[in-house]
Symmetry: C2
């Protein structure tokens, strides 16, 4: 069994790096705060007898040797980056649950049959740089290393330069490790476990995600002198698309649709915006339904472009297809043995484990979070809930190592 208080204290200490009012955390990837968090992770893992390395994309690996070090490692991990107005648990809980597993094995002098690893994946959030789950995506070969290092934030700063600056670009080729199984513990980020009063979610599936960059080009003109019928107003067009994204989501069972990011040019109160650039996020657990949602968005945008004589480009630059988790039996068995109430669930968010399952069997453990609120400083969970999730993680990893 893991140590509840030690885990909680570490969560709080890590949460102070970039801690914000209201109990939140703002620790964007590639910043000085990201460096501090990575350094602290390294110190903790080394104190628990593990060796820490990182690869050419800044993905970190804390390795604890086992009986036979030629066997593929049993791994866990998640991310230390947060949203600009994020909480203390999204991602961080999964990493520190891994650290707590290392500490528990270390203090009990347990020799596992295989090596055990805890990883930290670069830019899971996809907030400062796109897409999300970038580090694990590079690791499994979904994305090209150089292309992703060249991604820039809204200020034109390159991710590769930021990782270099904070000292987290290593020598190791992403994808080159000997890993045999991957587990990830994560807060649910949704309201279902709390509603159903269950301690553990056995994650069967990760839903499909499509991210778009929509660029509308109209004509910048004076708001006071340009008659309505002579306008090419990119703002009104963006508004109509945003309203339609909500309608598309409502039209389909389990559909979700969000516009979370928007940049307006020149963004002046008396100028009809000449161009706008915004993000659309569509999700569905069923790949076919998600494809229909995609078609509806594209059809709406082309009709609108024609109707209003605007240029509208809809770039679906990220498609993440639904994933089935092959190790959910291990998760379920551990929850049962430990006597935690549990239920099957699917993941609404994308997670590093989803990409890892491309190249090895993977499993995910969800724990409840208050009112389902996440990506918000008010994200909350309890020490008991974190303890339960970490005990399930420890036991699932041990079963896999023994297999």
């Amino acid at each position: 069994r893991i140590n509840k208080q030690r885990l909680w204290d570490s969560l709080m200490e890590m949460g102070d790096i970039g801690g914000t009012e209201g109990g939140g955390c703002a620790r964007l990837v590639g910043t000085d705060l990201d460096k501090q968090a990575r350094d602290l992770f390294t110190a903790w893992c080394e104190a628990a007898g593990a060796t820490v390395t990182f690869d050419k994309f800044g993905n970190m690996f804390a390795r604890r040797p086992g009986k036979n070090n030629d066997l593929p490692a049993v791994c866990t991990g998640s991310h230390l980056d947060t949203q600009p107005t994020g909480g203390k648990f999204d991602g961080v809980f999964g990493v520190l649950a891994g650290v707590e597993v290392l500490r528990t094995l270390h203090e009990n002098n347990i020799e596992t049959p295989t090596p055990v690893e805890v990883s930290v994946w670069t830019n899971e959030e996809g907030s400062r740089f796109q897409p999300a789950m970038q580090g694990s995506g590079v690791y499994v070969g979904r994305f090209d290393l150089e292309e992703e290092l060249n991604k820039t934030d809204v200020n034109g700063i390159r991710l590769g330069d930021e990782l270099q600056r904070i000292g987290y670009i290593g020598e190791e080729e992403p994808g080159s490790r000997n890993m045999g199984a991957f587990f990830e513990a994560h807060i649910e980020q949704g309201p279902i476990l709390e509603d159903e009063d269950k301690t553990i979610g056995v994650v069967r599936l990760g839903q499909g995600i499509r991210w778009y960059n929509v660029v509308i080009k109209g004509r910048a003109q004076h708001s006071g002198t340009t008659p309505m019928h002579l306008r090419k107003d990119s703002m009104v067009a963006a508004a109509l698309i945003t309203a339609e994204v909500e309608k598309i989501a409502h039209r389909h069972a389990n559909g979700l649709g969000t516009v979370g990011f928007m940049q307006v040019y020149p963004n002046s109160r008396n100028v009809i915006p000449g161009s706008i650039n915004f993000g659309v996020d569509l999700r569905n657990p069923d790949a076919a339904v998600l494809a229909t949602m995609n078609d509806e968005l594209e059809a709406f945008c082309s009709a609108l472009a024609a109707e209003r004589d605007l240029e509208i480009s809809v770039d679906n630059y990220w498609y993440f297809s639904p994933v089935e988790f092959r190790l959910s039996a291990d998760v379920e068995k551990a929850a049962k043995e430990l006597g935690y109430s549990h239920m099957d669930i699917y993941a609404g968010a994308g997670h590093d484990a989803c990409y890892m399952s491309d190249i090895m069997p993977a499993g995910m453990i969800f724990t409840p979070c208050e009112k389902g609120i996440s990506h918000n400083p008010a994200e909350r969970t309890s020490a008991e809930q974190c303890e339960a999730g970490t005990n399930v993680l420890l036991h699932a990893m041990l079963s896999a190592s023994e297999r």
Copy 2:
């Protein structure tokens, strides 16, 4: 008659201060570029025998003495600040037309019965700080000096500090000068003169303007895990209001409605925006119709707030009522005498002359601009059109001075 080439050369030289690709200009109020433009204005006016002073709000006055210097001055002026993606003529033409009047009087050794003044008003555009026509509004007592100096831009920088920094806060109390009449020459910024093939617009009226700050507070949540029915999405609400602003404008004769400015928090692609802050600009030449448009906007926003359980605050922080210009007879007479084709017109944009007419008779002269495009780097006019407007200005000022 004024000197066409000299006027055009000055327009081009001034336009180079902050000149942008595509022939535009970006010279926001209170910046180093603003200082350069003000310094150049001072040098030109002094060379033409005028004395330049500025008041506590940075409004500048170039004074050329007349026969009787106790008589109220006959004045003209406009602004040197531009939009972030503005043109070379909006405002600047009116100031340099005034400089050209000074030069013409100077080189011909004309002694006018009254003094003549050319003013530069601080922050007419209302882009970096709100509202628009701030300097002339402070001058006539519509706004409080201290309150306006305390206004901050999106980065929290105070206007008063910026004016201090560039050396343009003087000793003189705004509103304390002896001014008897005010004329302003300006490009039309709309398509009507070009469409009707007229050289001069005799501006009879300035239309009414209402500016709003709308703040929507929803709940920041994860785009992938929050079911549609549990969302408080401030972005969708902003979109519905934006679409409604367009509908309100279409519902009323001569109605205009624009959302040009929007800030989204936290502005991340997988976060349902927790709050949004945007500007609405409603205009109508008829005050009663504009009041109805206002009521419709407010009613729509309160119904939406109730329906979607959001906080929506609609702050109509600036109301500019329609203005009749009392000196349009002078403008019409000058255009007739000089043989320029002309027509009556109303001003869609707010202008410094609109505020000046609070405290003295005022008149405006419009000149055509290509395709009516303004607040855009593609704003264009010709040397001949500028010449005609400036000749009308000179003659109208001389008539007023002789009266």
